[in-house]
């Protein structure tokens, strides 16, 4: 029961952040894939670095253990991502931003969006036995994180990731890696 209340609170904060970042808008998602608005990348990379700086030291100190990490099965992660990008670029949403956007009052998300996700979910569940086991067997490394997999110092890995992210932000904001939007009409 407590876990459910916690999930509800975490979800509200997550949805709130998605709303404030502007990720519930088609124009933001489309802008990312046109490379004219880098908000999605900035938002996600900032979040990743903040969380890893928070949780890795706690893990090293033995204060926390990680929950089950998403499994790495190279072909499936990559192929899934490739299909995912087509849908996300076409519609301008993903499951999280669609849900938060529906909460803002967007009927386009609440009705056809929600129905689409539920239909996709049913289709996946009904075809799971045939589709998932074969693809998840290929190049499967299981539930693993980079520092453990490559046997490198976890704090060093976090530091390098933070550095890469800062360089990326510098390139976007100062070196013109963000394209100018062409006039649409």
């Amino acid at each position: 029961m407590n876990e459910y209340i916690l999930a509800l609170v975490l979800g509200v904060m997550f949805g709130f952040a998605l709303n404030k970042a502007g990720l519930t808008r088609y124009s933001t998602i489309a802008g990312q894939f046109r490379l004219t608005d880098m908000a999605v990348l900035k938002f996600i990379m900032t979040a990743l670095v903040v969380t890893m700086i928070g949780v890795y030291p706690l893990r090293l100190l033995g204060v926390i253990t990680f929950p089950t990490v998403p499994s790495t099965y190279i072909v499936g992660n990559l192929v899934g991502g490739l299909i995912f990008g087509v849908g996300m670029s076409l519609a301008g949403f993903c499951p999280g931003t669609m849900t938060a956007g529906a909460g803002e009052g967007k009927l386009d998300y609440l009705v056809p969006g929600m129905l689409g996700f539920l239909t996709g979910a049913a289709l996946f569940g009904l075809t799971y036995d045939k589709v998932f086991p074969p693809i998840s067997k290929l190049l499967n490394y299981g539930s693993v994180v980079i520092p453990d997999l490559w046997n490198i110092n976890a704090l060093l890995a976090v530091f390098v990731m933070a550095l890469i992210t800062l360089v990326l932000f510098y390139l976007i904001d100062r070196m013109g890696w963000q394209r100018q939007q062409k006039k649409l009409d």
Binding site: L8, Y26, V50, P67, I74, E104, G120
Partner: protein, 177 residues
């Protein structure tokens, strides 16, 4: 205090600021719930429950019984939370309004027809959710949750999503890309 109130009432934050908030949510999720964030998983639980109500035999399979059990779950509660998080965000900036066709750029890209938007969002939803199943999660459950713990899966998924997303946008926008 007035600074804080002003920030909360703002419709749009810097993506860096909103990202810091999401990063803190990520820390809380791992430390207090010992779980991850996610969105697509909740749709599987709900679809299973609806499916079992309509066609119990068809949906009585391994997936909806064991892999992603039908019914209420942590993931469903998270999803309900995300919905109301969107409501709260819109309320705070006084932009909460039941509406359709609210994005100018959409009209420029696809035209003003509502049926076309609804059709594309429905089809897009199916593609996105099915792909999340294959990949092992969506932008929330795999990219953000996996990435914040440095799981290789997250970065593979990210590479795939960006590559095909950019190609798709090029096709949609053509010369206007």
């Amino acid at each position: 205090m007035s600074w804080l109130t002003k920030q909360i009432q703002k419709e749009l934050w810097s993506p860096y600021g909103a990202g810091v908030l999401l990063g803190l949510v990520g820390i809380f999720t791992v430390v207090f719930a010992n779980r991850l964030l996610g969105a697509s998983g909740g749709f599987e639980n709900i679809a299973g429950a609806l499916g079992k109500a309509v066609a119990p035999d068809l949906f009585n399979n391994t997936y909806f019984n064991f892999v992603m059990p039908a019914g209420l779950s942590y993931a469903v509660l998270l999803l309900i939370g995300i919905f109301f998080g969107g409501t709260l965000g819109a309320l705070s900036s006084r932009t909460l309004k039941v509406r359709t066709m609210d994005d100018g750029q959409w009209k420029q890209a696809y035209g003003p027809q509502l049926w076309k938007r609804w059709l594309l969002l429905f089809v897009g939803g199916i593609i996105v959710q099915y792909a999340a199943g294959i990949a092992g999660g969506c932008t929330s459950g795999l990219l953000i949750s996996g990435g914040m713990l440095l799981a290789p899966a997250a970065f593979l998924f990210m590479a795939g999503t960006f590559a095909s997303g950019i190609c798709t946008a090029k096709i949609i926008y053509g010369k206007r890309y």
